[in-house]
C-alpha cells in the first residue's frame, strides 16, 4: 500500500542517518545476543548435567581426596545403580595455553553414566576399554589438536608429576548441542598404578565419585544416605546433584555474570535512546508534511502510525541484520574462546529475545514522535512551512 511505501521511503530519506541508526541497532542486538550467549556458555555445565547423577566429594574441599574403599559402600546404598571414581588430572598438553579439561575415570562406568558421550564406532569403544593407556577425547578437542585414533599424546602432570603418555583410542561426539566435546578421559587404573610405583603414599586416592541413581526424585534422600555412611569418619563426604555441583563453580563468578547481564540490557537501552532521538528529529523535520496529510483528511492516528512504522522499519532492519550476523560471530568468538567456553552456542531463546529487543526499540523510539505527529496543528504547522 502507498502509506506503507511512504513509511519505508521516509525511513531511508536521510541515507547516512538511517544507515548509522541501523548500524547502531545491528551492533546493539549483536552485542546483546553475544553477551547472552556468554552467560549461557557459563552455565553450559549446569545445563548439561543430568538429574540421574550425584557427585560425592570430600566435605572439606575438592582438594581433599577420598579413600578407594568408599566405592563399594556407596554402591550398597539403596537407589544407587553405578559408581565411578574420578580425579581431576589437570595435565598440560605441550603448552599451558592449550588448556582443556582432562580426567582419570574408571572407563566402563564412565560410559555407562554418560550416555550423552556417543561413540559411533563400537570397535573404538572396546579399544578404549581394553587399552589401559588409552584415552577418550571429544570431537571438538580432537579437531583442535588434529588428533586421530591411534595417535600417541603426552600430558605433563601438574597435580600428578611426570610425563603421561597415552594413545587416543576413541573419539566421542555429544548427543545434544550443549554437551561438552572438549574433554579428555583416561583410565583411572593407569593413574593409580603409576602413582603406586612412584609415590606409594598417594595411591588409592579418589578425587570424587560420580554416582548414578535410579530415581531423580530421590536425589536428596540418596545423597543424605551416602553422606550418613561416612559421618564422623576421617573423610566425611558431601554428596549433591551434578547440577548443584556444577552450579558451585558458576556461583563463584555470579557477580561477573550479573554485570554482563546488566551490560547487555544497557546496550539495548543506549540504542533505544539513540534511535528515539533520531526519530524525534525526523518527526520534527516533517511537521509540514504531517500537516499536509492531515489537511488532505488523514486522521491523527494514520499520521502517528506512519512515523511509528518508520521507526519499526529502521529498528527491525537493524535487529534483523544483527541476528543474521550472530551465528557466524558466535562461531568465530566460540573458536577464539574455546579454552574458557567449551560450549558456545546461540540458543533459540537468545534469537527470540533479540527479536523482542528490536521490536521494543522500534516501538518505544516511535512513541514520542508518533504522539508529536498526531498533535501537529495544521494551521500552525503550515504557517511555519509557508
Amino acid at each position: 500500500m502507498l502509506l506503507i511505501r511512504l513509511a519505508i521511503r521516509n525511513a531511508f530519506r536521510h541515507r547516512l542517518r538511517s544507515f548509522l541508526t541501523i548500524l547502531g541497532v545491528m551492533v546493539a542486538i549483536l552485542a546483546f545476543g553475544l553477551l547472552r550467549t556468554v552467560i549461557d556458555a557459563w552455565y553450559a555445565g549446569v545445563e548439561a548435567s543430568s538429574a540421574n547423577r550425584l557427585v560425592t566429594r570430600s566435605s572439606v574441599s575438592l582438594m581433599f581426596s577420598l579413600p578407594m574403599a568408599y566405592k563399594d559402600k556407596i554402591r550398597a546404598v539403596p537407589g544407587v545403580t553405578l559408581v565411578c571414581q574420578g580425579n581431576w588430572f589437570g595435565g598440560i598438553y605441550i603448552d599451558e595455553k592449550n588448556f582443556f579439561a582432562n580426567f582419570a575415570y574408571e572407563p566402563q562406568t564412565l560410559l555407562d553414566l554418560y550416555p550423552e558421550y556417543v561413540l559411533d564406532d563400537p570397535a573404538q569403544r572396546s579399544d578404549f576399554l581394553r587399552d589401559r593407556k588409552g584415552c577418550l577425547v571429544g570431537a571438538k578437542l580432537a579437531k583442535r589438536f588434529g588428533w586421530k585414533v591411534g595417535d600417541n599424546i603426552t600430558l605433563r602432570g601438574t597435580i600428578f608429576p611426570g610425563d603421561w603418555v597415552m594413545t587416543v583410542r576413541a573419539i566421542y561426539r555429544g548427543a545434544r548441542s550443549g554437551t561438552d566435546e572438549s574433554q579428555l578421559f583416561f583410565h583411572w587404573a593407569y593413574l593409580d598404578e603409576t602413582m603406586r610405583v612412584n609415590y606409594p603414599s598417594r595411591a588409592g586416592q579418589v578425587g570424587f565419585y560420580m554416582v548414578g541413581i535410579n530415581d531423580p526424585n530421590k536425589a536428596a534422600e540418596i545423597s543424605r544416605a551416602v553422606d550418613a555412611q561416612f559421618a564422623n569418619s576421617l573423610a566425611e563426604t558431601l554428596t549433591e546433584t551434578e547440577k548443584a555441583f556444577q552450579m558451585s563453580f558458576v556461583s563463584m563468578s555470579e557477580a561477573i555474570i550479573l554485570a554482563i547481564r546488566l551490560v547487555s540490557f544497557v546496550v539495548v537501552l543506549i540504542i533505544l535512546a539513540v534511535s528515539a532521538n533520531t526519530m524525534a528529529m525526523s518527526a520534527r523535520e516533517r511537521t509540514g508534511e504531517y500537516a499536509v496529510l492531515k489537511t488532505l483528511g488523514f486522521s491523527a492516528r494514520t499520521v502517528a502510525l506512519l512515523i511509528a512504522g518508520e521507526a519499526l522499519v529502521i529498528s527491525l532492519t537493524g535487529a534483523g541484520l544483527g541476528l543474521v550476523l550472530i551465528l557466524p560471530c558466535a562461531e568465530a568468538f566460540g573458536t577464539l574462546m574455546t579454552d574458557f567456553f567449551p560450549v558456545f552456542a546461540v540458543s533459540r531463546e537468545t534469537i527470540m529475545y533479540g527479536v523482542v529487543a528490536g521490536l521494543a526499540v522500534g516501538i518505544l523510539s516511535g512513541i514520542y514522535p508518533a504522539i508529536y505527529a498526531a498533535r501537529v496543528r495544521i494551521a500552525v504547522a503550515l504557517r511555519k512551512v509557508g
Binding site: 502507498l2 502509506l3 489537511t295 488532505l296 503550515l382
Partner: protein, 234 residues
Amino acid sequence: MTIPETLIEIRGLAKSYQRGGQVIPVLTDISFDIARGEFLALMGPSGSGKSTLLNCLAGIDRADAGQIVVNGQDITLLDETELAEWRSRSVGFIFQFYNLIPVLTALENVELPLLLTNLTRRERREHAESALAAVGLDDRMDHYPAQLSGGQQQRVAIARAIVTDPDILVADEPTGDLDRVSAEDILNLLDRLSSEMGKTIIMVTHDPRAAQQAHVLRNLDKGELSRVADPAGH
C-alpha cells in the same frame, strides 16, 4: 441575469490570537457570501488575516465565533474527525510552496487523497493519471518533486487538489513562489478549472495580475472585508 446560487455563507466570523498576554484581533465580524462557481480573490496587506480567513473557510483552522455554512451545513459545528472527512470530500488545497511529499512521485502524490475513498487500486491510478493529464503533466508522472520545476510542482499540487473532484478549491498565494511565466500558467489553469469544471475557487494573493483573473475581488484590512469594484472583464 440569473441570481447565482450561494455555496458558502459566512456570518459574524471573528478570530483573535493571544500573544504575550495581549489579545490581537485578526478577524472581526466578517460576513459575506460566496456563490457556486465563483472565482474569488482575497487581497490585502501582509498580516491582515487573509490566510487565517482562508484556513477557517477550508476547515483547517477554527474561528472564535461565527458560522460558515457550506451547502447548508455549518462546518463550525463539526468535530475534528467530521471536519477531516468533510475536507477530504469537499475541498482541494493549493499552497504557496506546493507542499508535495518529496519521497513520493508525482503520480503517488496525486493518488494520496484517494486513499481516503473506497476506490480500488486501479481506479485510484486511473483517476490520478487523468488528473495529471488535466494539468498537462502526463509525461512527468514518475518524476519526484525535486525533479520538477516550481511551476510543474504547483501543477502536480493542483492535480492533487482536483483528483477527488471537490466543489471548492482554496489557494493561498499559489503564484507567490513562481516566476512570471509559470505564474501565468497556473492562473490560466485555475481559470480553466473555474470556467470549464465549475469549481468554486477562493484564492489569496498579493499579485494584482492574479487578481485580474478572478471574478470577485475582496480586500481584507484591519479585520474588515470590503468588496472591490469588479476586476476588468467580469
